[in-house]
């Protein structure tokens, strides 16, 4: 089967996020960059499907030239092809992003002589969190899409006609969707535990030939004015006690959290 994964290069989450002095962007000096976590799971899911059913995984990103790192990372964990839509500015709005991804997919599918069996998006990007790019792209391509997916199965060998069964986590269980191929899904962390690259994978990925596309679209209606940090919330640890007698307080807390 042929799978396309759309990924985004984002500052690595996991620490205090600083903002540049002018508020235009995240100051990633201390953070480094990574693939947006939902999409990392998406790549892993795609690689697993191809390992099981045969096929090829193509990874697509939009960004500065250094966003190629994310394509190489994907290659280091098993993706086969990388496509970079090169821009010299970051922070495109969702409509513009979706339009360009849609155009890129049309170019690639034209070359491939057919649609990708499955297009995988992250549910939302870790940084801008717009919750819409995948849906806009899928709609533009006339393909069904469901977001929030934490489980994927395919009928047959995954290529051509058939279905994709997608599970979406809800409180206490899953909703199951069955999408006709070709289709798209927006996946969430928890879909799987992404593998780490191996050393050989990393070295192989350096040889990845990156397909570069030069595309652009008109800006949409949403525009960033500035980023800022919310007022500091000093969270003091509440000391429940200094001995076994604190047990009652602990159980009160557990009760409150609804985990009892």
């Amino acid at each position: 089967m042929r799978i396309l994964c759309c990924v985004k290069r984002v500052p690595a989450p996991g620490a205090k996020i600083n903002v540049t002095a002018d508020g235009s962007d995240v100051d990633a000096a201390h953070l480094g960059f990574t693939t947006s976590p939902h999409e990392e799971c998406g790549v892993e899911g795609a690689v697993q499907l191809c390992e099981e059913h045969g096929g090829e995984v193509t990874v697509l990103t939009i960004g500065e030239p250094r966003a190629a790192e994310q394509l190489r990372y994907a290659a280091s964990v098993g993706a086969d092809h990388g496509v970079l839509v090169c821009t010299d500015e970051v922070g495109w709005d969702p409509q513009r992003t979706a339009a360009v991804i849609g155009e890129a997919i049309e170019v690639l599918e034209e070359e491939n002589g057919g649609p990708f069996d499955l297009i995988v998006f992250g549910n939302e990007s870790a940084d801008s969190g717009g919750f819409q790019v995948g849906i806009r792209v899928a709609h533009g391509l006339g393909r069904p899409i469901v977001n929030g997916i934490k489980g994927i199965e395919v009928s047959g060998d995954g290529s051509g006609a058939g279905t994709v069964t997608a599970r979406r986590a809800i409180d206490g269980g899953f909703e199951v969707y069955e999408l006709p191929r070709p289709c798209a899904i927006g996946v969430k962390e928890g879909l799987n535990l992404p593998r780490y690259p191996t050393m050989k994978g990393r070295l192989r990925s350096k040889k990845l030939e990156i397909r570069s596309l030069d595309l652009d679209a008109a800006p949409g209606g949403q525009r960033r004015i500035r980023l800022h940090r919310p007022a500091e919330q000093v969270s003091e640890t509440v000391i429940l006690g200094e001995g076994p007698e604190a047990a009652a307080e602990v159980v009160d807390v557990l009760e409150e959290l609804g985990v009892l």
Binding site: M199, L203, K206
Partner: protein
């Protein structure tokens, strides 16, 4: 949490391995009222300790590092927080195989078990190693892996329990307050530490802040020269063969020396660390805070491009690494200094402010002990720490530009093969000597002594090689950073004369009504001599061991000049300032760059000098040890100048002559005049190879930092006078006691009887701590644990033999004792000359 104190005896900043061990060691030494503040959380505040690879390879060529490494390893062992994993350094090149022979030699010197391995033997210990790419290995079974975080916790607890140390984590130091009232000694004084929890008044502050140390030092307007540098590490796994050991470490650590990498098992994975990537340096302000850091402040985002080559090479050595997942990879920060040594001791410019920085986990507990003892006794007892003394740095070394250039240059030498005489490429000619252009015209080969440049030999003297039939040494290693020209210059000096640039001498003057009295307090020998006389004297520490050896000249009733070597200038200046009275009776002036010195020695020296100086230069008119003001006519050199100068009749090379002191600006004219006057008398510009090595060794003159260290006293060094002066001096009591006991060891000269190795090549020991062994090949160790080793070595052209110096137990220190010396893992026969000179033992040439 206890209430935040407003006053403490000692405030230790930083709860990494060093700060924690410091409070423990201070407590053991009886200190009370300690406070430990730490910016981050405990037990891992986020400094370099938290991501250290935590292993100790005990063999190091450097004595301080080797012995403190061993000391530290033993402290970890004593706490049961250490496992002997063993370790192998593997060689991929013949050059590295030679280096491993040198490692074997150092292992022998420090008494550490070590074996050379064939590739097959290495594979027996480490079954996943690829024998195809290695030529052999150096195995040390006592390589250990330690738990540095837990050690820190245990030591901190000891500080809490024994000394009531108060610990404040998550407490950031905002400022250091000093009393800047001007004092004659020029030093400021620490008075308080300002933190985000409050201000603590205190007399002692110890900066144990690892990579942040210089940022903290800057708060007191001073400087700790270190730079945070990246050391990349990747944890790859799981790997079955490692997981099956069910152990944190089950296989020896492998250091892949030629790729500058190591592979260290960490439970089920392998940690691959590298010193092979490009040097990546950071300013302390670029380090994120704990909350800004994704992992920890010193675990910066991994830059994989820098690691790719190391990965390929690691897979070459251990194929299994290729298929393991890279689970955790960091650009870990560690501290680098301009000269690779730590920064320990009191800051020379701020009384009460101590540095315990640029220390790695492998030497942490030992270094902490050094600083704790230093604070307690005035000098560390566990070892002579002069190489790590923060007072060693000159101003030119205390700049970001300097540290960055040097760290950039030496980072990739972490696992490199570094020659004992290796010179820096960066940051040369930091102090411009008056003679530089002349020396460059003579194609001088400059060796750098800290920030000063000294010609080691002059290539313009290459003709001497023909005259004396000299040729380079046969083995490249022995010939590296060496030239037979230096032998030519030596022989010429012995038969004619030579002029030596001594402008790197560090010159200080004490002046005032208390100057002589104070000078006498510093020196073992009597400074209160007639005006115009000088003394050569040891300075001792409070324990009676050497702090320095130097020359003190009484220039006037109330003025004493101190002349010392460039390597110890900073330490000696600090020592002098630290002890001087602040009542105004003495002033201190550093006159180093006001006064330049040229040495003129050789049988023709008096004849040469007589041409430009009208003074009576006979032994009567210019006796040994005298300082005489003279006028020197520089017309012979084409200068219309009569230079005011002091003639100091002394010799460090064994031939008669003078050190000539004159104003810095007169230097070039004096140089030209002497060379012109000596043209017909065979004068040659003569380099440091003669002054510091061949001339000195033939005479058996002791050198600070080589023969003279705090572990030895003047009796052992053979520098004790017949009588002890009445006046009190630092170290007098232990000195008197040592005189009663007599020396257990004695400093001697030895000759190498046969320099031929097993391959038939002539070898030349370098004075790099080669062990002196008995005829059975056993190490010679005295009751204090001091090992007999080569402290200086070099060829004695006028003796015709390779000469060594070192300490031997008194019973062996007699002429004719036959022993052996190990060099490059081979034994060579040596014979003891005795405590005196191998050349002209009666000093007839000095008196002539």
């Amino acid at each position: 949490m206890s209430e935040f104190p407003t006053r403490a005896n000692v405030v230790v900043i930083g709860a990494g391995i060093v700060g924690n061990c410091l409070v423990g060691h201070l407590a053991r030494l009886g200190w009370q009222d300690l406070v430990l503040v730490e910016k981050g959380p405990l037990p891992n505040p986020g400094g370099s300790t938290g991501h250290a690879s935590n292993f100790i390879f005990p063999v190091d060529h450097n004595k301080e590092m080797a012995l403190l490494g061993e000391q530290s390893a033993n402290q970890y062992r004593d706490m049961n927080l250490s496992v002997d994993s063993g370790g192998i350094e593997v060689a991929r090149t013949q050059e590295r195989m030679d280096e491993l022979e040198r490692r074997m030699t150092s292992a022998k010197a420090w008494g550490i078990e070590a074996h050379l391995l064939t590739p097959a033997q290495a594979k027996e210990l480490v079954p996943y190693i690829n024998t195809e790419v290695i030529l052999g290995g150096f195995y040390c079974p006592t390589v250990s892996v330690v738990d540095s975080l837990e050690t820190g916790t245990v030591m901190r607890k000891e500080g809490i329990e024994k000394a009531g140390c108060k610990v404040f984590a998550n407490t950031e130091v905002l400022d250091l307050i000093t009393d800047d009232t001007p004092r004659p000694n020029g030093r400021r004084k620490i008075t308080a530490v300002v933190t985000d929890k409050g201000t603590i008044d205190t007399d002692y502050v110890i900066v144990a802040c690892g990579v942040w140390s210089n940022r903290i030092a800057a708060m007191a307007d001073t400087y700790i020269p270190l730079v945070p540098a990246v050391h990349q590490m990747a944890d790859v796994g799981p790997i079955d063969i490692l997981a099956e050991t069910n152990n944190e470490i089950g296989y020896p650590i492998v250091r892949d020396m030629d790729t500058f990498c190591y592979e260290r098992q960490s439970a089920g994975s392998m940690e691959v660390g590298s010193y092979g990537h490009r040097p990546i340096l950071h300013h302390p302000d670029e380090i994120p805070s704990n909350e800004e850091a994704a992992l920890s402040p010193t675990e910066m985002p991994f830059t994989p491009d820098d690691f790719d080559q190391q990965m390929e090479e690691a897979i070459e050595l251990m194929d299994m690494l290729g298929d393991a997942e890279i689970k955790y990879a960091i650009n870990g920060l560690l501290s680098l200094t301009p000269d690779t040594m730590p920064c320990l001791g009191e800051l020379p410019d701020v009384e009460g402010l101590w540095s315990a920085a640029a220390v790695w986990v492998k030497e942490g507990p030992g270094m902490a002990q050094v600083v704790a003892e230093w604070m307690t006794y005035g000098y560390p007892r566990v070892i002579d720490a002069h190489g790590a003394d923060i007072a060693r740095f000159y101003d030119e070394e205390k700049s970001d530009e300097h540290i960055w250039a040097r760290a950039d240059e030496h980072f990739n030498k972490t696992y490199g093969i570094v020659h004992p005489a290796e010179q820096w490429e960066s940051r040369r000619h930091l102090v411009e000597s008056p003679y530089r252009s002349r020396q460059e015209a003579l194609q001088a080969e400059f060796f750098q002594a800290r920030v000063w440049e000294r010609p080691q030999w002059y290539n313009s003297n290459a003709d001497l090689c023909e005259r004396y039939d000299l040729s380079p040494r046969g083995v490249e290693w022995d010939n590296r950073w060496w030239s037979p020209i230096t032998i030519g210059e030596h022989l010429n000096l012995r038969s004619n004369c030579g002029v030596v640039d001594l402008s790197a001498f560090q010159i200080y003057e004490l002046e005032g009504p208390g100057a002589v009295e104070y000078a006498d307090r510093l020196a073992v020998n009597k400074v209160d001599v007639a005006v115009g006389r000088s003394i050569y004297t040891p300075w001792l520490n409070a324990d009676g061991g050497f702090h320095s050896d130097l020359t003190m000249m009484r220039l006037a009733e109330d003025r004493v000049r101190i002349v010392t070597g460039v390597f110890d200038g900073g330490r000696d200046e600090f020592w002098t300032r630290k002890h001087m009275p602040n009542d105004g009776s003495v002033t201190f002036t550093n006159r180093t760059t006001e006064i330049t010195t040229l040495g003129l020695w050789g049988p023709n020296a008096p004849q040469v000098l007589a041409q430009v100086c009208g003074h009576d230069l006979s032994q009567a008119g210019s006796p040994y040890g005298s300082i005489i003001p003279v006028e020197i006519d520089c017309a012979a050199g084409g200068h219309n100048l009569t230079a005011q100068a002091h003639l100091f009749r002394i010799s460090y090379v064994g031939d008669s002559g003078w050190e000539i002191y004159t104003d810095w600006s007169n230097g070039p004219a004096l140089w030209d005049a002497l060379l012109a006057a000596g043209r017909e008398l065979g004068i040659r510009p003569t380099g440091g190879g003669v002054y510091g090595t061949s001339g000195r060794l033939e005479k058996g003159y002791r050198l600070m930092g080589a023969e003279l260290e705090s572990e030895y006293n003047p009796l052992e060094a053979g520098l004790a006078r017949r009588r002890v002066k009445a006046a009190d001096f630092i170290g007098k009591e232990p000195y008197l006691k040592a005189r009663e006991t007599g020396p257990e060891v004695q400093c001697v000269t030895l000759t190498v009887e046969d320099q031929t190795d097993s391959a038939g090549r002539t070898r030349h020991m370098m004075g790099g701590n080669e062990p002196i062994l008995d005829l059975e090949g056993e190490r010679i160790v005295d009751s204090h644990g001091r090992v007999s080793r080569v402290t200086s070595a070099g060829y004695g052209p006028s003796v015709g033999k390779h000469l060594l110096m070192g300490y031997l137990p008194t019973e062996m220190a007699t002429a004719g004792t036959e022993l052996q010396v190990m060099y490059m893992n081979e034994l060579f026969p040596v014979t003891v000359v005795g405590p005196g000179s191998a050349f002209d033992p009666d000093d007839t040439r000095l008196k002539g």
